[in-house]
């Protein structure tokens, strides 16, 4: 194998990709380096050989399938948009459902109005302690009259 450091640029020279100055330098080198000259020749034969590796032609049927595939793009895109809209709608529905559940639980923690009213109606008009106090006053008033 060619160990010359200049050999790394042989491919670019072979492909016509070296600039003017670099190309001139390589041509001078090729005149002095048999290893690079031999490798350049092999690169040429390799390129000629690889031409035979050209891929098979695209058949008419295959080309028609490609055309048909292009024609189906609008419908495929519409389906994709529909799927995205459906996913968004489902997400909104889920969020609203969760919000309603959370809101409902929060309101059940408060005392309902009907219960507040019912408790208020059960309280007596006069507290027993107050009535007892009235009796004591009346009784004491009676004893003081005798003294």
């Amino acid at each position: 194998m060619n160990e010359c450091r200049q050999s790394e640029r042989l491919g670019a020279y072979h492909d016509g990709e070296l600039s003017g100055a670099a190309r001139a330098e390589m041509e001078r080198h090729l005149g002095q380096c048999p290893a690079c000259a031999a490798e350049l020749e092999r690169l040429g034969r390799l390129s000629e050989l690889l031409v035979a590796a050209a891929a098979p032609k695209l058949s008419l049927a295959a080309k028609q399938r490609l055309h048909n595939g292009i024609d189906t793009i609008p419908m495929a895109d519409l389906r994709r948009v529909a799927e995205i809209c459906g996913a968004i709608a489902a997400s909104i529905l889920l969020v609203c459902t969760i919000w309603l559940v959370v809101k409902t639980r929060a309101t059940t923690d408060a005392i309902p109005v009907w219960e507040t009213v019912a408790v208020a109606q059960q309280e007596p008009a006069t507290a027993p302690e107050e009535q007892l106090a009235q009796w004591m006053v009346q009784d004491l008033s009676g004893k003081s009259a005798h003294d």
């Binding site: 050989l49 050209a54 695209l58």
Partner: protein, 187 residues
């Protein structure tokens, strides 16, 4: 380039612009111009016709959907090549292995003997295709684009989104490997 009718040939860029404005026939014209080239590159990269057709289909779909983002900094051909390279690379990664290098798939790509080719020529093509498939994906790409399709280093660099120097070094190593693999044909 003027045709016999005296009308100037419509450029690829004009076809893209028309397609952007909703002219689907313009995109079909682009397909007619570049499908065979894309298929050839894809077959050489994928190693079998079926995967190559799928890759080209996905490339054209991607180009159709993404043509609004095409800024014209490269040629349309280079742009399509870039999309194709991306597609084949994705397929390679998802497959987790090199493309099919079975004798059957390579022989399918190489084709059989025909009226214009002998059995020996067919065997040579099979060996060549097998040698190309044995290259790493990076090396295979530069060899296919340069040796089989004649793209310039700048075009290859644009399509692969790598520096020009990387193209040159990859080609150097790929060619060394091919020389070793195919030395019997090069003496």
């Amino acid at each position: 380039m003027a045709s016999g009718s005296g009308h100037l040939e419509i450029t690829d860029l004009e076809l893209i612009n028309r397609a952007r404005r909703g002219d689907s026939a313009a995109f079909h014209d682009l397909l007619d111009r570049h499908a065979s080239y894309l298929f050839g590159v894809a077959v050489s990269l994928m190693g079998n016709v079926a995967d190559a057709e799928d890759a080209v289909q996905e490339t054209l779909l991607g180009a159709f959907r993404g043509m609004r983002g095409f800024e014209g900094r490269s040629s349309v051909k280079t742009w399509l090549t870039s999309i194709l390279i991306h597609q084949t690379a994705m397929r390679h990664r998802s497959a987790g292995r090199r493309p099919a290098t079975s004798l059957e798939s390579v022989a399918e790509v190489a084709g059989g003997p025909s009226a214009s080719s002998s059995t020996e020529a067919t065997d040579t093509r099979i060996d060549l295709m097998a040698a190309i498939q044995e290259l790493s994906p990076d090396h295979r790409e530069v060899v296919v684009l340069r040796e089989l399709n004649g793209l310039s280093y700048d075009e290859i660099a644009e399509a692969l989104d790598v520096p020009r120097g990387t193209v040159e070094s990859r080609l150097f190593r790929a060619r060394r490997q091919l020389q070793e693999r195919l030395h019997e044909y090069l003496v």
